[in-house]
Amino acid sequence: MGARTPRTPPGDVAPVAQRVRLRFTKRGRLRFTSHRDIQRALERAIRRSGLPIAYSAGFTPHPKVSWAGAVPTGAASECEYVEIGLAERRDPEWVRTELDAALPDGIDVVAASDDTAVSLSDALVASRWQVRCEGLDRADMAAAVTALLAVDRLAVRRMTKSGERDVEVRDSILALSVGQSEGTLDIVVATAVPVVRPDDVMSALVGLGMPSPAVPPIATRLTFGSWDGEQVTPLF
């Protein structure tokens, strides 16, 4: 058998000159996109916009894009973060405008920063969610919320592709209350592994006596960032 001579990757790969972080939304019917759908949409938007994106080295170069804690399919978000590597420096606000124009309505790029001192995973420790449960009675919701906050631990069963698994919910709940607007819950969860989703919290509440909503609730992540014991502050 002949010696394996490695093929050299074609061309030189420009190094990353600047990292730009973007905050974007997932609004309206775009909430039905999956994280993979969003990844593809952003990569194509980057190509359409002509941003000087940096690519990884190798035979199948990939654009330098890093993601952090995406919301699940079906959930909306006002606060998602992504970091992209550029081969040439650009004004972050210019990057934001270009990408916002190239992305479909609903995926709106709302803020940009090139401050990368703290890693995304260190900075994004908590999410504040609003869950809209149409038709649920305020008192029923409040009773289940009180019951859930009273326990130390609570696991719920979640269906996954590989079957059912139990997820510990209570540990990750930093705050929970019935929301100001009618038929909503206000939930703050810590970023954890496995991640606790709003529907896990809903399952826990239903398990504690709250009626199941007649229509599937709509969850929206309002903020994603640091937690001071009172509120979640977005990274930027």
Partner: protein
């Protein structure tokens, strides 16, 4: 059945159901480059349906082209619709939500016309689901003036007889001009106050004539209800006759003659969801005259019409800018046959150097492949797999099917690919071809072994691989094999099992050769639907009523459901599944599609069928004199090929 005539968007009612179905993103619309026009203000409203899953239908070039062509007309709206999966279908029935368009989520029943593109006959049951969910009677005869006109197009429309009861009309051939002609008729009919109602419109459609050239046989619109079919006692067709003066004896296909005047799609759709082709496609020519006798696409799309190198360059540039795709597919039936393919590939590779933009030729003939071309295609960093389609295992069977590729050519080409760094090559073959014996198919094993042996020799490596992929042959209308007996599925499976054993038996090569094939049963049903007549419509309806959906998908297809429906529905006519599939036809038999004109001379097709049996090959008319297939004189067309001799000019920056 769900009764609805409201034209309001159903999205508000649909949205609460979407969290409960798989991949809800496929139902939300709003793709980049999609269009939503003022529905109520439009004079003519088209729903363009692809009767398969969104992930398959969205990249379909035909739908994309017609969507743009129609939406460019100021008073016309065109919206897209795709088949809904059974999970959503059940919820829509429960909540009485009609089938909808994905653009503005209007009920299909609110459109004037539903154009359905059938790339394959296995989408027929999905048409019935869509009609039923939309509250449109399955049978055209039961539709009223307020129901949309259902028009079939796509390759399967060249024999729409099995679905004749379910459609109002069929259009053969290129759709660009045909949809505009149909639009004009509907617009005028509505402006005139719908004279003679639905029947009046159908009679007017039957009179549509769009000649490709002055004085030539025009492309028309086939309205099945304006034709009667009589049968002989033995079940064969006696004659097909128009029952209305508006209906011509033969209905011709449409042929678009200058591709450079029709640079569509200009703004290709970019799905949010994942689809089967994640690339931007440009059709570099239409038609093929290689003359492979099994190939319906090659026969019905004649003559060859090339897009110029400048036209290709414009479309690639505009498409990439509009979409952000990182791969360009140069589409046609045999892309390396474009007269300037080398210049196109080099020009594009130069232009997009350093931008991580891949180029691919989805179908490449063994004898048109060369390393320079392959290297241009992979220059920008990607080396995709190579696929060749010798189709037949033995030289003899390749003469029968007129795929003029010698085993030496094949070995040389594949060896060159291995020598230039490719490690994996895929070879595509067919099983069940006319006159085929076990030996012809077992030769595939020998070819694969020779490929591996030669590849190991030139590379000095043992890690090269070859995948052999085998499909069952299905005889198609308007081809020289339209008279042929289809091989039954038991014989197909037995032959493939022998091949698999032969490849496994030789341990020196077995691990380097992958074998992929499907069982022969779906091919038998495709055969029934391909060459069926109007009596097959009852089979389709029975299968659909028994739950048949998504027949192109293994997990949904049920041979037993089809076989039992065929047995029941065909028995009253004294016919069965075999009669439509494994029976060889004689020259004198009236075929169900004889009144539909693909331009091919039936006598030439018969002569070519006889040549096939005699293992006589026929040349390509692009490089040799005309061999009288009949298309050009009938349709007033001619081949349009380069070279133009002009270079692909670089884009100016700034």
């Amino acid at each position: 059945m769900i009764e609805t005539r409201s034209s309001d968007s159903v999205f508000d009612r649909l949205e609460p159901l979407l969290p409960r179905v798989a991949k809800p993103v496929q139902y939300i619309g709003g793709e980049l480059n999609s269009t939503v026009k003022d529905f109520d203000a439009a004079a003519v409203r088209w729903a363009l349906m692809y009767p398969d899953a969104y992930e398959v239908g969205l990249p379909n070039q035909g739908v994309m082209i017609l969507y743009e062509v129609l939406n460019e007309v100021p008073d016309v709206v065109a919206e897209r619709a795709y088949a809904v999966w059974p999970d959503l279908e059940a919820l829509m029935r429960e909540h009485e939500i009609p089938h909808f368009s994905v653009d503005s989520h209007r009920p299909l029943g609110a459109f004037d016309v539903i154009g359905v593109s059938f790339a394959t006959e296995l989408g027929y049951t999905n048409l019935l689901t869509a009609l039923d969910l939309a509250g449109i009677p399955l049978h055209a005869a039961q539709r009223g003036d307020h129901h949309p006109i259902v028009v079939a197009g796509g390759h399967a429309a060249f024999n729409p007889e099995p679905i004749a009861a379910f459609i109002d009309a069929a259009i053969l051939g290129d759709g660009e001009q045909a949809v505009l002609a149909v639009t004009a008729v509907i617009r005028q009919w509505k402006a005139d106050g719908c004279p003679q109602g639905r029947q009046g419109l159908l009679r007017q459609l039957a009179s549509v004539e769009v000649p490709a050239a002055p004085g030539a046989a025009p492309g028309g619109v086939y309205v099945p209800s304006l034709y009667d079919v009589d049968y002989l006692d033995d079940g064969r067709i006696q004659r097909v006759t128009p029952n209305d003066l508006a209906a011509p004896w033969r209905v011709g296909k449409h042929t678009l003659m200058d591709l450079d005047e029709w640079e569509y799609p200009k703004q290709p759709l970019v799905p949010l969801a994942e689809s089967v082709h994640e690339r931007m496609s440009v059709e570099i020519f239409r038609g093929c005259t290689r003359g492979c006798r099994f190939c319906q696409a090659g026969m019905i799309t004649r003559p060859v019409r090339e897009r110029s190198i400048e036209g290709i360059g414009r479309m690639v540039d505009r498409g990439l800018t509009a979409t952000g795709f990182d791969e360009v597919g140069l589409l046609s039936l045999s892309s390396a046959d474009h007269s300037e393919i080398a210049e196109v590939a080099k020009g594009l590779a130069d232009r997009y150097e350093g931008t991580q933009t891949g180029l691919s030729l989805p179908s490449t003939r063994v004898d048109a492949f060369n390393v320079d071309l392959a290297n241009e295609l992979s220059r920008n960093g990607r080396r995709s797999g190579l696929t060749f389609a010798p189709e037949g295992g033995s030289e003899r069977i390749r003469r029968v099917i007129n795929k003029m590729v010698t085993e030496e050519d094949l070995i040389r080409t594949v060896t060159t690919a291995y020598a230039n760094g490719w490690r994996q090559v895929k070879l595509y073959f067919m099983c069940g071809l006319p006159t085929e014996t076990d030996e012809d198919v077992l030769q595939i094993a020998e070819v694969a072994r020779r490929v591996i042996a030669a590849g190991r020799e030139v590379t000095g490596r043992n890690d090269i691989r070859c995948t052999v992929s085998i499909g069952g042959f299905v005889p198609k209308p308007h081809t020289p094999f339209q008279w042929a007996a289809q091989l039954d599925h038991e014989a197909t499976d037995a032959r493939l099992a022998k091949l698999r054993d032969a490849i496994r038996a030789d341990r020196r090569y077995a691990k380097a050769i992958g074998v992929r094939y499907h069982d022969g049963k779906p091919g038998v049903i495709e055969g029934l639907l391909s060459r069926g007549d109007r009596r097959v419509g009852d089979v389709i309806e029975a299968v659909w009523r028994a739950g048949g959906r998504f027949d192109g998908w293994n997990e949904h297809f049920s041979f037993d459901r089809w076989a039992s429906a065929a047995a029941t529905a065909l028995a009253p006519h004294g016919l069965d599944l075999d009669w439509f599939t494994t029976r060889e036809r004689e020259q004198a038999e009236v075929l169900p599609w004889d009144h539909l004109d693909s331009g091919l001379d039936k006598e030439w097709l018969w002569a070519d069928w006889q040549d096939a049996i005699d293992e006589v090959e026929v040349d390509d008319c692009r490089w040799s004199p005309c061999f009288n297939c009949g298309v050009c004189p009938t349709m007033g067309t001619s081949i349009q090929v380069g070279p133009t001799g002009r270079p692909l000019i670089p884009l100016t920056v700034g």
